[in-house]
Amino acid sequence: MTHEEFESIAALDALGVASGGDVAALRLHLAGCHPCRVARRELGQATSMFAIALAPIPPPAYLRAAVMAEISPESRTNRWWLATAATLFLALWGWRELDVRAGRAEIVRLQQQNSRLSAEIAALASADTRTITLSGQEIAPSASAKVFLQPDRRRALVFFHDLPANPGDTSYQLWIIRAGQPKPASAGIFDVTASGKASIVIENLPVETEIEALAVTLEPRGGVVQPTNTRFYVAGDAGL
């Protein structure tokens, strides 16, 4: 693809109407191309002219108070207590469901599992968790994925749907495209069975640089260091 073609995609991306695959390819290109990065920035600034040209309208005064209350430490403390209460409820509920006659080892195992699931639920419900949707591309248009990104824990949970089952000599591989990084980073490999579903947990997520996009390719079994193709199955912009 030429720089001119990337600039065309950048224009659509700035308007928020570029396809997920194009956005992923663009992010990859921008990481190593300064002129195109400048173009994308200027195009983004240019689209904001539409908003700036509008008549400003003061929002109701109570909204300001609502926003400030939302970000206040007290409010966040309340939310923490709510999350704790919800976790406690789930833990108690899980405990009640246990067969008290079951062996001690089984109880311990279930407690740990319950605790882990509760922590996962609390983490997913956290205000800091970002949700990113990856959409199916040309070779798998009905596929999709949901990413729950927890920057503070450097971790993400990814759930895939309706991906075609991968042949035995291949693996699906998830790639992270980061700002200023010319090469994508592998976030893990996974297999998909006939159910079309899969999930992976990404630990030690590289959050030092902004994640711009995520994409999935089909690679040789066991994964590769760098993607061998740009035929994305699902892809999506991780931007705000």
Binding site: G16, F50, A51, I52, L54, P58, L63, L240
Partner: protein, 185 residues
């Protein structure tokens, strides 16, 4: 683009450090611009107010992600609001209601301003003049993408024009917009 007020020192770095005063100033500086945008996208005050609140809470929690090299503070905030506004528009199927208004003229250039604070009215006027210089067909196509989140295919269907024509219009329009922006700098 220097469309912010001359006094508009960058606030987001302080917001990223948890400075509530800086966040309050950020809100006071841009809430009217963001609310005007959200009302334009959503045509519904309740939705616009909810999304405005989400936008500023997001700005508070994500201020550390702001990179001034990649764009201005106001453009960053606008991009959050616009993205969430379009998501709300799609999720609530507001678009279906708006189909009835498909034939209406899209015009924002003659609105009077009542709350120019952060963005000075002369700067706003300059931006409006720049947009008004775009051929109407290009401007309409870009506005449908920006304010309604329509794809090129959907815009072609809405305007009853060939897809290729819409693609060309949008490319030319964005190119001209970028040139106008460079003229500001």
């Amino acid at each position: 683009m220097d469309t912010t007020a001359p006094v508009a020192a960058a606030l987001l770095p302080a917001v990223a450090r948890g400075n509530v005063s800086a966040f309050e100033e950020l809100y006071d500086r841009y809430a009217s611009t963001v609310y005007g945008l959200l009302l334009r996208i959503l045509s519904n005050a309740d939705d616009a107010q909810e999304v405005l609140q989400e936008t500023f809470v997001k700005a508070w929690t994500s201020a550390k992600m702001f990179d001034s090299v990649r764009g201005s503070e106001v453009a960053w905030l606008i991009s959050i609001a616009r993205s969430r506004g379009i998501d709300r528009l799609r999720s609530r199927k507001v678009r279906l209601e708006r189909e009835d208004e498909a034939g209406r003229e899209i015009s924002f250039l003659d609105h009077s301003t009542g709350a120019d604070t952060a963005i000075q009215s002369e700067e706003r006027s300059a931006v409006r003049r720049a947009l008004a210089e775009l051929p109407e067909a290009q401007r309409v196509a870009l506005e449908l993408a920006y304010f309604e989140g329509l794809s090129q295919l959907e815009i072609a269907a809405r305007l009853n024009e060939p897809l290729g024509t819409i693609k060309t219009r949008m490319q030319l329009g964005m190119k001209k917009l970028r040139e106008r922006l460079q003229a500001f700098q």
